[in-house]
């Protein structure tokens, strides 16, 4: 195996982030089912793709433009569990939106996570724009847009890739292909099997990778980021993965996919597979694993109770920050 820069420590950190996200996600569903928050969007199943790619970038310095599926990504990028929970509970302190946006609409200037709305594929264009500035200002940053395969049907996906290719921008388009857009399976969304096949239309490299393997994802993302930093332009990456839970807590996925199908995919659970591998390779010990589990539980408990107690935004703040001069 060529040196990919991944030390055992980094791999353990990756594993930790994946496990943290999975457990956070489980907690969010539990809280939702208890009626304590109205909506969950999950990264459950996508952890390897998200965490693997995050580790390949300069976290906090490069720009990411995530979508609602990307909790594992923003955790790996530096958002704390408390911050995620504050967002989930829509509290005033939520750094993503101050409780203004529904869960999973990420954003943090400090962390270089561009604020996101809900309209899919807009983030692709924004990432190209961030990269346009990097090219002009020569700041050495790479920008990465994250998006589902369904969103590639949008015109803005096409416009973003084309613009970025023409201007050789330092940007990576990172697709998390889970085979469904809510209930719509990929074959009703497009004829091609691989999202990466769309890269040729823009004269940029397209690469498909096993999105359940964080190391492979790390490697392709790293290569794409390096290429971007060298001034050679954008790359389209497709990480093939699966979503283990419904689209959101408002969805019921039994209407559109069989339990057998879901079970089949669970055989390739990215978290469990990575765990086995790290254990087998003796990168992770059973003891470390147990410690991490304990730590994760503590961190999530802390985040939950902190966020639970935090105040809601004041109704009087409704009119603030429509314009920059409002704050003066």
């Amino acid at each position: 195996m060529p040196d990919n820069g991944l030390t055992p420590e980094l791999m353990k950190e990756m594993y930790y982030m994946m496990a943290l996200s999975r457990h956070m996600d489980d907690r969010l569903w539990a809280l939702n089912r208890q009626g304590r928050a109205p909506t969950v969007y999950s990264s459950n199943g996508h952890e390897a793709a998200q965490v693997g790619s995050a580790f390949a970038l300069r976290r906090g310095e490069d720009w990411i433009v995530p979508y609602y599926r990307d909790m594992a990504l923003v955790l790996a990028w530096g958002m704390t569990p408390r911050e995620v929970m504050l967002h989930f509970f829509a509290k005033a302190e939520d750094p993503n939106s101050g409780g203004r946006q529904m869960m999973a609409h990420w954003g943090s200037h400090r962390l270089h996570i561009l604020s996101t709305g809900a309209v899919v594929a807009t983030q692709d264009v924004h990432a190209a724009g961030l990269a346009l500035a990097s090219k002009v200002l020569k700041d050495g940053r790479v920008s990465v847009a994250y998006f589902g395969e369904g969103s590639t049907s949008q015109g803005e996906f096409h416009e973003a890739l084309n613009f970025a290719a023409v201007h050789k921008l330092p940007v990576v388009f990172f697709n998390e292909n889970n085979g469904y857009a809510i209930s719509v399976p990929q074959r009703k969304q497009m004829v091609v099997q691989d999202i990466s096949a769309r890269a040729d239309a823009y004269g940029m490299p397209g690469v498909s990778v096993d999105g359940n393997d964080p190391i492979k994802v790390y490697e392709v993302t790293r290569a794409a980021a390096e290429r971007a930093r060298r001034g050679e332009g954008p790359t389209l990456i497709e990480a093939k993965t699966y979503r283990f839970v419904p689209h959101s807590s408002d969805d019921d996925d039994r209407a559109y996919r069989s339990r057998e199908e879901v079970q089949e995919h669970k055989k390739y659970d990215p978290l469990l597979m990575f765990e086995s591998r790290l254990l087998a390779d003796k990168i992770l010990t059973e003891e470390e694993k147990a410690d991490m589990a304990k730590k994760i539980k503590a961190v999530i408990d802390d985040a939950t109770s902190y966020a639970d107690k935090a105040p809601l935004p004041d109704a009087d703040t409704l009119g603030l920050y429509v314009y920059g001069d409002d704050s003066k």
Partner: protein, 327 residues
């Protein structure tokens, strides 16, 4: 007569219309197998097949643009936009294409499509699942904009929208879907576009509104009546075209007007209503023309205090109407 929710009335109308006219197709994101994210189209694909109830790719401009083409070549498409907030990628197709086709071709072509979209807030949707979008389209010559407030109206207006030879935006307030029930005749009936419905008669103040706000206004009217204030609740039903005669008749009677909408205030459709009154009825007025609207912030916040502060309520209507009555 059957009691139905607002949502059921729309579903039943779609079913009845699909059965009545083979040229009708229904499509959009998740409308088929899943029956729509709100279940409005539930069961329709099973009944009418995958060719007439279509799960389309996730692309609003394509949904509307293909509906335009399909309508020209003989179909009667009823595309759905999953949330009104997501109609913006299709604005070009709606405004520049659907609404201008008849005029630009000097009546050689027409675009009989009905675009259905759930809109509005108060349902914990936050900034991107709560928006009111009617003002953008009510400004567009060539468009019609229909916004029902009851199950009965929803059926008659939807059937008429399908009959209409021009593009209709049919907006369904999410707050009505399951909260409002009413009697709905089984047989097909049509309610004309451009005719308001005086949902309650009074004499002191005119409340002019549409959609969910009509229900809130009716609640407010009950409370106001207890205080001895009798209000007209004029439900516009359609805001383009809108029923000036009905507005003028009510204003003539009361001399006091409160216009209510959830949409942002500045540039909202309330301004237009106010302007036609100020143009044509100025000397019939006994008080300033007032508007009770959503505030001028980009959209409704998600957190309950923010959502609550944004939303119109029966209480807020009572308060404003009372001020006017006492004016």
């Amino acid at each position: 007569m059957a009691q139905m929710t607002f949502l059921e009335a729309i579903r039943e109308t779609l079913r009845q219309e699909l059965a009545r006219d083979e040229r009708i197709i229904v499509y959009g994101e998740d409308v088929g197998v899943r029956g729509g994210v709100f279940r409005v189209t539930e069961g329709l694909q099973a009944e009418f097949g995958e060719e007439r109830v279509i799960d389309s790719p996730l692309a609003e401009a394509a949904i509307i643009g293909t509906a335009i083409g399909a309508s020209v070549n003989g179909l009667r498409p009823i595309p759905e936009i999953q949330f009104a907030d997501f109609i913006f990628p299709a604005m070009n197709q709606i405004i520049q294409e659907a609404a201008r086709m008849r005029y630009r071709s000097n009546n050689d072509f027409e675009v009989p499509i009905v675009i259905r979209a759930p809109f509005g807030g108060g349902v914990r949707g936050g900034i991107y699942h709560s928006q009111s979008i009617e003002a953008f389209f009510a400004h567009v010559p060539g468009m019609k904009v229909v916004i029902p407030s009851t199950p009965y109206d929803a059926k008659g207006l939807l059937a008429q929208s399908i009959e209409d030879p021009d593009p209709v935006l049919f907006l369904e307030h999410k707050g009505l879907y399951r909260s409002i029930r009413g009697e709905v005749p089984e047989e097909r009936y049509l309610l004309p576009l451009g005719k308001a419905d005086l949902k309650r008669e009074g004499k002191d103040v005119t409340l002019i509104t549409y959609g969910l706000m009509t229900q809130l206004a009716l609640k407010a009217a009950d409370s106001l009546a207890e205080e001895g204030i009798q209000v007209d609740v004029l439900d516009l039903r359609t805001i383009r075209p809108f029923d000036k005669e009905a507005i003028f008749a009510s204003v003539k009677k009361t001399g006091k007007v409160l216009i209510i909408h959830e949409d942002n205030r500045t540039g909202g459709f309330g301004g237009e209503i106010s302007a036609v009154i100020a143009e044509e009825m100025l000397f019939d007025l006994d008080a300033p023309i007032m508007r009770l609207t959503g505030p001028d912030v980009p959209a409704m916040g998600f957190s309950p205090p923010l959502e609550h502060a944004f939303m119109i309520s029966a209480e807020k209507i009572v308060e404003e109407a009372r001020k006017l009555a006492k004016f």
